[in-house]
């Protein structure tokens, strides 16, 4: 007895299988009733995975809360892992758009990923709600298909500069941040706002992204009364620890990645006193944030940071836009314009709206890290000490004046003698 598998049998089997498949899943007759396709570009492997996993958790928490319905339509969620690099982002966005035929793209995480896919988005007129902070895509080289409900790189750092000068009463600050675009833009914003209010940046240090030991930089922190760090990923943890172990006592301030709430469970007591500016805070007591944080705790037993919050807010925007159009997202230009025109009151970061370039106008929270008020089983807590409302990407400057200046770089704004 032999069971030979002939080519004929294989063909017959495949045909039968294909027939069965078509029979079981008939093509939807009316496009309106087809599920709404939500695509996410995130990072689930490699060094950027911490934030990327949070992004996906934020989306799923929103979908579970809404029973996978948006604007009256069932949602089909497709998540793609870019691996955290521009080439991966390019491949995956093509898959989402051309193979999965998504209606909207959420993400990507990193600025260089967004730059890599920006032209593609324009070409395919694909509404994209990004988390990546690459400023110029909503400033000097605007991408009309882009909406950013989180913040530009310097949107939180500009209020931080104001707070450092006026409330922390710092006069001379050393800045230290990774040597890449997100770092330049953060510190450019900090410096411009800090110096506008009478402070002075005395030294700018730029460690490479991969710096196991910050001692060579810590040794250069002197002749100042404060430090501003803008590290991302796991770097803030290591920086604060090493900063403390060398007995440095100057107050430290930072932006959304350097003091992210998701890091609270990893930070040690050495981070106490860290002042951070962030477009989201775990501390905010409003209905949306309660729903969101409880959802995150229930689904993942973890507190959200600004990556998860950013994507949750993005989902709210998509949901509200879809609702306003009665669930019809087929006209992409109209869908985009509707979302851009939204003003949503109840989000985990408070009320938001968009400016004409597609960037968010909303709250920036200044928080101080300490033990007081810690919830959800955490030992440390970012307590909100001040809320700046309706902060735009241009801070206090008129848009024209802001855009006339060059984009922030390593050497701009330049160091002044002081």
């Amino acid at each position: 007895m032999s069971h030979k598998i002939t080519r004929r049998k294989v063909l017959a089997g495949t045909a039968a299988g294909a027939a069965l498949a078509t029979f079981k899943f008939p093509a939807p007759a009316v496009a309106q009733k087809a599920p709404f396709k939500l695509g996410l570009l995130t990072v689930k492997t490699g060094p950027l995975a911490e934030g990327g996993i949070q992004m996906e958790q934020g989306v799923i928490t929103f979908l579970k809360e809404k029973n996978y319905m948006m604007g009256g339509r069932k949602v089909d969620f497709v998540s793609a892992d870019t691996g955290g690099n521009p080439a991966g982002a390019k491949t995956k966005v093509q898959e989402l758009v051309e193979r999965d035929k998504v209606d909207v793209v959420l993400g990507p995480l990193a600025s260089f990923e967004l730059y890599a896919i920006s032209d593609y988005i324009i070409q395919h007129k694909m509404p994209t709600l990004s988390l990546a902070a690459a400023q110029d895509l909503t400033q000097r080289k605007p991408n009309p298909y882009l909406l950013r409900a989180s913040a530009t790189s310097s949107q939180a750092m500009q209020p931080m500069g104001h707070y450092a000068a006026t409330e922390m009463k710092l006069k001379r600050v050393v800045t230290v941040v990774e040597d890449f675009a997100f770092g330049y833009e953060q510190m450019g914003g900090f410096q411009a706002a800090f110096e506008k209010d009478g402070g002075c940046v005395t030294k700018k240090l730029w460690p490479p992204i991969v710096t196991p030991d910050y001692t060579p930089y810590l040794a250069q922190i002197s002749d100042c009364d404060g430090v501003c760090q803008g590290f991302a990923g796991s770097n803030p943890l290591r920086f604060m620890k090493q900063y403390h172990s060398f007995g440095l006592k100057f107050p430290v301030c930072t932006g959304e990645t350097g003091g992210d709430d998701a890091l609270l469970k990893s930070f040690g007591d050495d981070a106490i006193g860290l002042v951070s500016a962030c477009p989201y805070t775990l501390d905010l007591e409003n209905d949306a944030n309660k729903r969101f944080v409880n959802g995150m705790m229930k689904n993942y037993n973890t507190v959200p940071g600004f990556y998860a919050a950013g994507l949750y807010v993005n989902c709210q925007v998509v949901d509200a836009g879809l609702k306003a159009l009665g669930g019809d997202a087929s006209n992409k230009e109209k869908f985009l314009a509707t979302m851009k025109g939204l003003s949503i009151k109840d989000t985990p970061r408070g009320p938001i709206k968009f400016d004409h370039l597609g960037n968010v106008v909303g709250n920036i929270f200044i928080r101080k890290l300490g033990k007081e008020g810690a919830k959800y089983g955490l030992k440390l807590w970012n307590k909100t000490v001040k809320t700046y409302e309706n902060v735009s990407q241009f801070w206090v400057w008129p848009e024209k004046e802001y855009l006339a200046e060059p984009v922030y770089t390593r050497s701009y704004p330049p160091l002044k003698k002081c």
């Binding site: 490699g46 995975a49 490479p208 930089y217 990923g233 943890l237 620890k241 172990s245 469970k265 040690g268």
Partner: protein, 290 residues
């Protein structure tokens, strides 16, 4: 002045940590003739396992030093298994072996991400070594000074093992001329397993010792592997003295390079490696491979 003292002392402590990392890498490279690209992963695995042991096993927390030794043992077993089950099956095919180690490094990275998640883990400094030493106006963390001591002890132990024991003599014979060693009755393939396990143990140990300074996070493996590679190419493969001196050189280059010329930090770090490869391929203290 303070600045220079601080950097000089830190160069030595960082060199100490690099020595713990690269001594095993050098031994494996010397004996098996392959750069073990899993070495960074073994470092990271040791750090993760150690950090987990310290925090809790069945709700009883384990002392830092005991956790360090246990995680070294666990990583050693893992390393020995890699050699015995995978590399052994590809004898005389160095390229295939290197690719296998590269493959395993990606798998370990994903495994760690799956088990420990993406959040960085902070390893507490052992309580007896918290605090710092003051020298004039310079402040130096006690734990970092302790690393110099740990590296010195490990260096001495390894030297005794290699120079004063029968096993050490067999390893040296295997490094110098594996074929001839086989002829005189040394089971070189068994030595391979032992050395791979020992190298893995050192990497895992270095991982947890480095924990209080570096913390543990996804990507730690890729951050550390190039440093080990530079050390070993500078110092010479299979040479203990080579990895000792190489670690110190890299420690100084790293610290002073980043402090004085941060834009060229990596240039300064890798330039000596290129020069050595071109002018003295066997490294400063390595012997010409047969």
């Amino acid at each position: 002045m303070t600045f220079w003292v601080l950097l000089a002392v830190n160069s030595i402590t960082f060199g100490g940590l690099l020595f713990l990392l690269s001594a095993g890498f050098s031994l494996i490279f010397g004996l098996m003739r392959i750069p073990n690209l899993t070495h960074g992963s073994l470092f990271m695995l040791g750090a993760y396992v150690g950090a987990t042991l310290i925090v809790s096993v069945l709700n009883t927390s384990i002392d830092f030093w005991l956790a360090a030794i246990l995680s070294a043992l666990i990583v050693a077993i893992f390393g020995a298994l890699i050699e015995r089950l995978l590399l052994r099956r590809l004898p005389g095919e160095p390229l295939a072996q290197v690719l296998v180690t590269l493959g395993i490094s990606f798998m370990v990275a994903d495994f760690c991400l799956m088990v420990w998640g993406g959040d960085p883990i902070s390893v507490a400094t052992p309580s007896s070594l918290v605090g710092f030493v003051r020298y004039g106006v310079a402040v130096f963390p006690l734990y970092r000074l302790a690393i110099i001591g740990i590296a010195a002890v490990v260096a001495l132990a390894l030297w005794l093992l290699l120079e004063r024991t029968r096993l050490g003599a067999m390893i040296r014979a295997g490094v110098d001329d594996p074929d001839m060693a086989r002829v005189v009755g040394i089971r070189v393939s068994q030595i391979f397993t032992i050395v791979f396990g020992l190298g893995a143990a050192l990497a895992g140990f270095a991982g947890i010792i480095g924990g209080p300074i570096l913390s543990v996070y996804p990507g730690l493996d890729q951050d550390m592997l190039p440093l080990a590679l530079v050390v070993v190419i500078l110092g010479g493969t299979g040479s203990l003295l080579g990895s000792f001196v190489g670690s110190l050189i890299v420690g100084f280059l790293y610290n002073f390079g980043q402090a004085l010329l941060p834009e060229l930090a990596y240039f300064i770090l890798f330039l000596p490696m290129l020069l050595v490869l071109v002018l003295r391929p066997q490294g400063l203290f390595g012997r010409q491979l047969p």
